[in-house]
């Protein structure tokens, strides 16, 4: 529970004009013992509570933040290990105030537990054999949402957990029956609601205190903005897979607009109408998922549920739909190559899509099957999904799916994709088969490599042609050099004892070479510096932060969308667009003379 403590030590209106900024605050944050709070987040909320900005304190506890907000504002200090401190400030449009904030102590262990990230809770789950049993849980539960946040750790009895796991299977989780039973049993025993001792350390650094985070709330509790992408017009676009909406955000003004996708002659849930899709979760038919932009300005969207590719013209606001393939299931991540060809993975049918916007020619190619059993599954899975659609919302076809006895690894699941800037080749990651592959765009020749860590998810190239791959199932980062064909692996540092991390996606800032990664189990964003082989942690100001892709602005910000499923489980009860400005905090300090 948030304890509102108004600790205004000094409030000095300096009345210094600040261009394009309004409320500005600077001061110090201290711990309960009076010592400086290092790495604490100081967040200023706008008067309407629709957006906020955050900076991090330096080693001496100091901070400085400029915001565009005015009026009655909330200012919050947050640090792992301490309860939040909240202050209300009346800010003028041109003023700068000194505001010192003191963190207190938790009343009890239960209150402390409420401040922990999901990772602290799922670290305590009593797996019969953690190496054998946890991977299926990480792979099949953590990819949609955190497990262990306040929404998902509610104590349930054994039968209720079995029902929950079965419900998730109806949403495309693919554990075997044996894995389902183990997961239900472990969650029943582990999420018992009893308070426990824990300590989390988010690794404050001088780098952290230079950063700044901006967030804008968007949509409702069932908005599911899978990906966010910065387009050439500077707007941030978001694909709402839950509601068939394309959202846009103007970061300068905070203006959010929505563009509903055109209707299609499919039932709710699209081709996946046979699945048990909870009302409100997937109310749409298209399921817009990922985006990429061609040089003519058109934005290309993979529609996972309708198995279509769609273009959106930002100038005319018009959509156009293209069929992908008769047996293609779940077009996933999309990228554009150097010749303006649109490439996208098709996860559930192990295919790759290629679309030429000039000729409007669509080509779907099968990727290597990786064994007879996977071949059988690849070939039959679309047919099973069609059978399921004859019995809407029943998920009857799951009773014929081979994942029930083999688990999710029965599928190859080509997932993330990127274009090598050095030679223009197309590279992808097979999530469940744990492989990466290369396609020669001229000959269409395919070659694959096994990855040393399991669960390669959404990889990206850096400017030099090094392939960076997040290992979701093992909490790692992989570096692959296509020239030497060698891998290098890194373990992502965790924030607490026995915890693990789930890096869903990454992107490499082509200008700085920095690798930005999601760390969805512990509410943080990770930056990896390849030059020094060092990880830096940016704690998210928002509890239950799940990020699925990153995009960069011209001025060096890294942006994403918070897309835990459902968004109602996020701290605000709604998702947000989020941008991190690596030098934004430093700029505010300089401007405020702090």
């Amino acid at each position: 529970m948030k304890k509102v403590v108004t600790t205004l030590v000094g409030f000095t209106v300096l009345m210094q004009p600040l261009l394009a900024q309004a409320a500005a605050f600077s001061g110090k944050v201290t711990l309960a013992d009076g010592q400086p709070a290092y790495g604490a987040m100081v967040t200023v909320f706008d008067a309407a509570g629709e957006s906020r900005q955050t900076v991090y304190t330096a080693a001496d506890g100091s901070y400085a933040i400029r915001t565009p907000y005015a009026g009655k504002l909330k200012v919050r200090a947050r640090l792992a290990g301490s309860p939040d401190t909240l202050s209300e400030q009346q800010a003028s449009a041109t003023g700068s105030a000194r505001l010192d904030l003191a963190l207190g102590k938790f009343a009890d262990q239960t209150a402390m537990n409420e401040s922990l990230s999901a990772s602290a809770f799922n670290a305590r789950l009593p797996w019969p054999d953690v190496k054998r049993d946890r991977p299926a849980f990480v792979s099949q539960c953590n990819y949609c949402h955190q497990m262990g946040n306040s929404w998902t750790r509610i104590p349930r009895d054994h039968e209720q957990w079995i029902a929950e796991v079965d419900k998730m299977e109806g949403l495309l989780a693919m554990p075997s029956r044996a894995q389902s039973a183990t997961i239900a049993q472990t969650l029943w025993k582990g999420f018992d609601g009893k308070p426990f001792a824990a300590q989390q350390n988010y690794g404050a650094s001088a780098e952290l205190s230079r950063g700044k985070v901006r967030e804008w709330l968007v949509g409702d509790g069932y908005t599911f903005i899978h990906d966010a992408d910065v387009a050439k017009d500077g707007l941030l676009y978001g694909t709402d897979e839950g509601h068939d909406i394309l959202w846009t955000l103007d970061r300068a003004t905070g203006k959010i607009e929505r563009y509903p996708l055109p209707d299609i002659d499919l039932p709710r849930g699209g081709i996946f109408s046979g699945m048990k899709l909870p009302i409100g979760q997937f109310t749409g038919k298209h399921g817009p998922h990922s985006m990429a932009q061609t040089s003519d300005g058109r934005i290309w969207i993979t529609n996972a549920l309708s198995s279509t590719l769609m273009s959106f013209d930002p100038a005319t606001k018009q959509f156009k739909t293209y069929q992908v393939g008769h047996d293609s299931l779940y077009p996933h991540t999309v990228r554009v190559d150097q010749d303006d060809i649109v490439w996208f993975t098709i996860v559930a049918s192990n295919q790759m899509g290629r679309f030429d916007p000039r000729t409007e020619e669509m080509t779907v190619m099968r990727l290597p099957h990786n064994g007879f059993i996977r071949w059988t599954t690849d070939m039959l899975f679309p047919t099973l999904m069609r059978i399921g659609s004859w019995f809407p919302d029943q998920a009857v076809h799951l009773n014929l799916s081979t994942h029930r006895f083999f688990g999710e690894r029965i599928l190859a699941f080509p997932y993330g994709i990127d274009v090598n800037p050095v030679d223009g080749s197309i590279w992808y990651a097979k999530l469940y088969a744990s492989k990466i592959g290369r396609i020669d765009p001229r000959t269409m020749e395919v070659r694959e490599w096994d990855t040393p860590m399991l669960g390669p998810r959404r990889p990206r190239f850096d400017a030099k042609g090094i392939f960076w791959i997040p290992a979701f199932d093992e909490g790692g980062l992989m570096r692959f050099d296509p020239k030497s064909e060698t891998f290098e692996t890194f373990r992502i540092p965790v924030v607490g004892k026995d915890e693990y991390e789930t890096p869903y996606a990454l992107n490499v800032d082509k200008k700085t070479g920095q690798v930005w990664m999601a760390a969805n189990n512990s509410d943080r964003i990770i930056r990896f510096d390849p030059a020094t082989r060092t990880f830096f942690t940016y704690p998210s100001p928002t509890r239950v932060t799940v990020l699925r892709d990153f995009s960069f602005t011209e001025d060096g910000q890294v942006c994403s969308s918070s897309s835990n499923m459902p968004a109602a489980a996020i701290e605000d009860g709604r998702p947000n667009f989020v941008c991190i400005e690596p030098e934004g905090g430093a700029a505010d300090r300089a401007a405020l003379g702090s």
Partner: protein
């Protein structure tokens, strides 16, 4: 009247069908849709063991083989069917499973060869014809 001796082919295929039924039923414990072909395999094993309902036995084997072939051909070359491709493959899959599933499909060629006139399985299912 002496009962005809059960031919070796009937022994062999009945045992194989029963093993297939057990294996499919094992999968059916996780995905219960497979209990349907498991049951059909068990019925086929029983019919073969008893030498009863030869016409039905043969018809099921033929339908299974045809539906399996339609399924494979549709998946491999069915793009010409357009949006109907998965409808055709879906019906073929369900029919194939109702008639014993892919394991029966593996045994069906041997069974149908054995069911030709004059062959041991045919005589086993038609003892009256032998007596005549």
């Amino acid at each position: 009247m002496a009962l005809p001796t059960r031919p070796a082919a009937a022994w062999l295929f009945a045992v194989l069908l029963l093993i297939g039924a057990g294996l499919t039923a094992f999968f059916g414990l996780s995905a219960n849709g497979y209990l349907v072909p498991a049951a059909m395999l068990a019925i086929m094993a029983a019919l073969l063991w008893l030498g009863r309902a030869g016409g039905l036995f043969k018809a099921v084997a033929i339908i299974n083989l045809i539906s399996g072939a339609v399924l494979v051909l549709t998946l491999a070359f069915g793009d010409v069917l357009g949006d109907r491709k998965l409808d055709v493959s879906g019906v073929a899959l369900l029919v194939n499973l109702l008639t014993g599933g892919p394991l029966l499909g593996l045994l069906a060629p041997g069974l149908l060869l054995g069911l030709r006139t004059g062959k041991a399985l045919n005589q086993w299912f038609n003892p009256a014809a032998i007596a005549a």
